[in-house]
Amino acid sequence: MSAPTTRPPQPPQLPETSSDVLVGPPAQTLREAVAEYRARLAGGDIGLLSAVLGLIALLAFFSILEPDTFTTTRNFANLMNQAAGVAFISMGLVFVLLLGEIDLSAGFLAGTAGAILGVTLSDGAPWYLAVAACLGTGAAFGLVVGLLVAYLRIPSFVVTLAFFLGLQGVLLAVIGEGGTIRISDSVILAVNNRNLSPVLGWVFVGVVVLGYVVAGYVARRRRAATGLPLSSAAVFWGGAVVLAVVLGLLAYLFNLERAVNPEIVSLRGIPIVVPLAVVFIAGLSFVLTRTSFGRHVFAVGGNAEAARRSGINVAGTRVACFVISGSLAAVGGIIIASRDNAVSPTTGGGETLLFAVAAAVIGGTSLFGGRGTIIGAVLGALVVATIRNGLPLIASGSAIIFMVTGLVLLLAATVDALSRRRGTTG
């Protein structure tokens, strides 16, 4: 038995040839970047386009129809708080959807974890212990689902459908029939109700823009040091400017006074949940696109057999994704509980899960696995929340809301299916 050692990658020593045709991103100039993006769209990879265009169209639509009620800073702040719960659950779902799996239990897992949070807080535990218990609950249920899916190979649809039913019971059992648990902890309540001070808001914008520029600049320097050509500088700096303008505009608008009676209580600043979401977007995007684990998630979703033959721990990757999904559902539970000031047997129920799936799909995550982004899921959550927020202003009754949201999900899934077909035949 010989002891195998890890071999460093060593390309075979073959004649020196000009390799510059091969290296580098496909697009090195702005013109090439545009051409490359159009080719990607034509190839079926719509990415963030549908979410961004959808959001702009919806904002314009409601602003024209309801300028006085929809287009107010107070309503936009509301929109952020309404979107937050679904956004966090959706970020977790991206991991599961990337595998080509589904998690139908995420909504009620959010409710159950939120109930655990409420119960531990009611028992007098400090907020951080309650949050830990809540996250632990989410991770533990995610682990069980993941083990059943990864090792017994029960379809995730069935496993999570069982948990969807079972967790409703667990939620009832934790809360007690017909009851609700009030949340009174000021830290938990602050998460999805309070705002940053205007100064802190500007600091936040500065940190995000600076972070984007520094991270991008360091990556470009490192690439340049390796002797590789860089992608278009115009695209990079253009992205930084767009980011700065959009965030700056948001900070400015949110820092305006939006209270009905400012003399009684002032209401201004970026909702705290926004920077919280940005931290999660940055962290989870890093995990998905810059680590081996993230690469393996895409590989398992793209071709599980190829991943297995490459020595990737396919089952372990699947379990980890369900644990992440469960944990983020728990975060979503905290956000929803904070918003509602309470946990009830319907927390995380109703349309929560479907909205989260819709958010991910609208944001360009494929239901067939192998394609998706975290930021897309968050933009998708904003799209869904905008529909949810704007429609009642122009149409009465929840009937129309359900139908429209259902249609939007169907539309997104259709785009996904069609783009997949173009991608494979192209």
Partner: protein
């Protein structure tokens, strides 16, 4: 010269079905060994055993003269054994670099070291005199069949490999692309690798191989030098398990 891979008396069963019954095989460095045999003769099972996907039940497996027990694909790749499967085992949604480094990504700290991976991937492709790829950052879904085959082979040689096993590398290719891939196979052997090629195409086998190993019903009918072997000799070995012209073949009493 010590063979890179030396198998003796290899046994493998799936449940009650005995697929391999005492198979011998030698693969020498710098040589192309063609593995031929009819459907169900056990070629794929043999290759999967060498690669650690379905470990052998019995027999001796020597790698560079040392007895080894290969029980996982990771272990096989650590020894320097790479397999290019017929379906190529590429992830369509990932780019060329990501596919070449799949499961063995270079990192700096916890982050992927994309720059060094991209540079080495490009160097390897250039070293194989691959000119048909526009960029190593293209998604594999956008490549042609020949380009995909090239990426899969380049992935196999990226790792300072000692053995490269190719499963039907030309089955899905046209005439020109087949020529290119066969030339690539010869180049791999000339750079000192032990190359094992599974093929059904007798012309491919005889044009590229130094040694022909013919399997018959789970046994090795014969492993003979390719020089001086005719097309019909190989066909006879595959279909009857013996060759009267060469005076080799399985004997019926060798039923293990």
């Amino acid at each position: 010269m010590t063979p890179t891979i030396r198998l003796r008396g290899i046994q493998k069963s799936f449940g009650a079905v005995q697929v391999l019954r005492g198979v011998d095989l030698d693969a020498h460095p710098g040589q192309v060994t063609a593995l031929v045999g009819d459907n169900g003769a056990g070629k794929s099972t043999l290759v999967k055993g060498i690669a650690g996907i379905h470990p052998f039940d019995g027999g001796s497996y020597e790698f560079e003269g040392q007895a080894v027990e290969v029980t996982s694909p990771k272990q096989a790749s650590q020894l320097g054994i790479e397999v290019v499967y017929q379906d190529l085992a590429l992830c369509d949604n990932l780019d060329v670099v990501a596919n070449m480094y799949l499961g063995r990504e270079s990192r700096t700290g916890i982050a992927l070291d994309e720059s060094s991976m991209e540079r080495k991937a490009a160097e390897t492709l250039a070293g194989l005199r691959v000119r048909t790829l526009k960029s190593v950052r293209q998604a594999v879904s956008r490549l042609s069949g020949g380009q995909r085959q090239t990426v899969a082979i380049a992935r196999a040689v990226l790792w300072n490999s000692k053995v490269v096993i190719l499963d039907e590398p030309t089955a899905a290719l046209g005439v020109a692309q087949t020529e290119q891939v066969l030339a690539l196979v010869r180049r791999l052997a000339e750079s000192g690798l032990a190359v094992i090629v599974i093929s059904h195409n007798m012309n491919d086998v005889l044009s590229v191989a130094d040694s022909v190993a013919a399997m018959y019903l789970g046994r090795m009918a014969a492993q003979v030098p390719a020089a001086g072997v005719s097309n019909s000799d190989v066909v006879e070995l595959i279909t009857a398990g013996r060759s009267t012209a060469l005076g080799v073949g399985v004997r019926d009493e060798v039923t293990a």
